[in-house]
């Protein structure tokens, strides 16, 4: 059956610059977060963050491309596309902040010369995807999906729909979130940052840590080496609030149920759930309530943000690659000590490097703008 089968992938996070480096780091559990000093006027703001491994926050005007190109190159190379297949590959870029890091750096530099106007360059929403397509010789259609933290998850859903419909045979999905001052200090302003690491669903949860993530995955109409594919996905809009899901869990439950229905599965068929797990008070509450509505028995739960931080628009694909890669190696990643006991939200996270077989897995993503997405992936 035509669907989005997973082929080559690349991943760069705080855990490592390649997918295998990332996967090698998982059994040890989440690393401690760092702190980035962000200049603000005459002061410096310390921002909890997990920056890209081996890529210091210097030369910001070129850093985005230094991060992006090796990851995309790894995914395309591993997919072994013919020149014609590559030329016809569609591009789906899922990102929240696009290339705003570059715009910020250009503006900050221009301010040292005169009272410059911001956003004189790099403002077009589709500009970055167009450049990626040109640099990698892709002439298929390109799409920039900008739906906050669900961006790259939604990108996968659309790539799958186009493959199923026979409009394309291959798509390159890219998830991108690079450190930028607006995001860092915006979350600081919202008082949503936790200095001591992310503890989703834990009694001591206190918010999120900024993460950087660059991910790429080629999906194709025929099975890839891992057997993983998107079984179904769902995306719904929750109008309870622009920055938080309905805490009663109803809207979160609705998107999970719609994904399960689209996959023709019952909740009991799911072997494990990758939570969105932002560790913020309201969103954890909504997700936990939604889980209890959908699952009469909660399956093993994973939360990937303690490992890599919250990578916003990139978390859809980056967390998917981590989960699928770990499962392919035969285990569910552990989060030792984080949400080990069911607190007031009634959820625990997987604590050991637990064996797992083939089957179906649910992954959740919830974003600003009330954007809620669930994916069901399978490897059987």
């Amino acid at each position: 059956m035509r669907r989005a089968w997973f082929h080559g992938a690349g991943l760069h996070t705080t855990l490592g610059a390649t997918l295998s480096e990332n996967l090698d780091a998982l059994p040890a559990g989440p690393p401690p977060p760092g702190v980035t000093a962000v200049p603000l006027g005459e002061t410096v703001e310390p921002v909890p963050s997990m920056l890209l491994n081996g890529l210091p926050l210097t030369d910001v005007e070129t850093r985005l491309w230094r991060a992006l190109e090796p990851v995309i190159d790894a995914a395309l190379t591993a997919s072994d596309l013919t020149p014609l297949q590559r030329e016809r590959t569609a591009l789906f870029l899922g990102t929240s902040s696009l290339d705003i890091s570059v715009t910020e750096a250009i503006y900050a530099r221009a301010l040292t010369i005169d009272a410059a106007h911001p956003l004189m360059t790099n403002a077009a929403m589709g500009g970055l995807a167009e450049t990626i397509a040109r640099r990698f010789g892709l002439r298929g259609p390109d799409y920039t999906i900008n739906t906050a933290c669900t961006s790259s998850a939604n990108a996968l859903i659309y790539a799958d729909a186009m493959i199923r419909e026979g409009l394309i045979d291959h798509a390159l999905i890219v998830g991108l979130e690079i450190f930028n001052v607006i995001t860092a200090l915006g979350f600081q302003s919202l008082a949503l940052l936790a200095p001591n690491g992310m503890r989703p669903f834990d009694a001591a949860r206190a918010g999120l840590v900024l993460g950087e993530g660059v991910s790429a995955l080629v999906v194709g109409a025929t099975p890839g080496p891992s057997g993983f594919h998107l079984l179904a996905g769902a995306n719904l809009c929750d109008t309870h609030g622009v920055s938080a899901a309905n805490p009663d869990g109803s809207t979160v439950a609705a998107v999970m149920q719609q994904a399960l229905d689209a996959a023709s599965l019952a909740a009991s068929d799911i072997l494990a759930v990758k939570a969105h797990g932002t560790a913020s008070l309201l969103n954890d509450e909504a997700e936990a309530a939604g889980m209890h509505r959908v699952f009469s028995a909660i399956p093993p739960m994973l939360a990937m943000k303690p490992f890599i931080g919250h990578t916003f628009g990139a978390c859809g694909l980056g967390e998917l690659l981590l989960v699928c890669g770990a499962i392919e190696r035969g285990h569910l990643p552990p989060m030792p000590g984080i949400s080990a006991e069911p607190g007031e939200l009634g959820l625990t996270l997987n604590q050991t490097w637990a064996p797992v077989g083939k089957g179906a897995f649910l992954l959740n993503y919830f974003g600003f703008g009330g954007n809620n997405t669930s994916l069901v992936v399978a490897n059987d």
Binding site: A123, G126, M162
Partner: protein
């Protein structure tokens, strides 16, 4: 579903030459009440969507597909200036609204929608990408009712804004929003197809299947009237101020002057020689 039917259309367009138009009274007039805590960009999105729905209530599971050339310039510039020039952190709501899909949220909230919601872009084919994904979802049955819209704002000072848009000095520039309401069933005009082509040769194979007697060529960005074997052309761009998503104006502009049964084949091209095309049937 055989083809998407057009249940509604709505537009807003204002050429801006000096003081920017106050959008608040227009939002209030369109929606019947003011909307708090929104700026120009979200206001435009709401005005266009409100005019498209024209007092009707779409099904709650209606999906929203929204595109923009450069998103919410106003709030992004405000946040950048506060941070880098003035040394202040972003205001929380301003920061949240830097995410362009905040406009989708306010449209969904204003009209009671809880279906799929997507903000997306493409440098040359923004409207076509939104339209194509909406048609795909309608065809696959994932969605039965869809709002497809665009919004682009202007920011003072105008000479700087023209520069941002890579437009020559004195080019008329405008703010605009265009929305379509598409449904899987209906008796009205139709939007049968939206396709992308890697080359002109690929496009020509498709365009050759259209009947010149009933088909008019819609001149999208970068396309000249003598480019294809269709003798009649439809130019809706001449005389219209510049804004990024002008292509989104094409369906309603065509349907306002078309005769029943007539089809517009609308073609645009980008700097890389790729093409996007869609059809509208009156």
């Amino acid at each position: 579903m055989t083809e998407a039917r057009i249940a509604g259309m709505g537009d807003y367009l204002s050429e801006e030459g000096g003081d920017l138009t106050d959008l608040k009274p227009i939002v209030k007039a369109t929606l019947g009440a003011p909307v708090r805590r929104i700026g120009r960009f979200i206001s435009l999105a709401l005005i266009g969507a409100g005019r498209c729905l024209d007092g009707r209530t779409p099904p709650p599971d209606t999906a929203v597909y929204f595109t923009t050339g450069s998103g919410d310039f106003e709030v992004t510039v405000e946040v950048l200036e506060h941070l880098f020039r003035d040394g202040f952190p972003p205001k929380p709501l301003s920061f949240i609204n830097t995410v362009s899909n905040a406009a989708c949220f306010y449209v969904a909230k204003a009209f009671g929608l809880s279906g799929r919601s997507t903000c997306l872009g493409n440098r040359a084919f923004g409207f076509e990408t939104a339209l194509q994904l909406a048609l795909l979802d309608l065809k696959q049955g994932t969605v039965k009712s869809a709002l497809i819209g665009s919004a682009d704002i202007v920011l003072d000072p105008l000479p700087i804004h023209r520069q941002r848009l890579s437009q020559p000095p004195d080019t008329p520039i405008g703010e605009a929003a265009h929305w379509l309401w598409l449904t899987a069933e209906g008796e009205s005009g139709a939007l049968p197809a939206c396709r992308f082509f890697a080359s002109r040769d690929d496009l020509m194979v498709w365009t050759a299947t259209f009947d010149p007697a009933t088909t008019v060529l819609g001149l999208g960005e970068g396309v000249a009237g003598d480019t294809f074997d269709l003798p009649r052309t439809f130019d809706y761009r001449t005389g219209r101020p510049y804004y990024d998503s002008r292509t989104a104006a094409a369906p309603s502009a065509f349907l306002e002057q078309a005769t029943p049964g007539e089809t517009m084949l609308h073609v645009s091209t980008d700097g890389a020689g790729r093409y996007a095309a869609f059809t509208v049937r009156a």
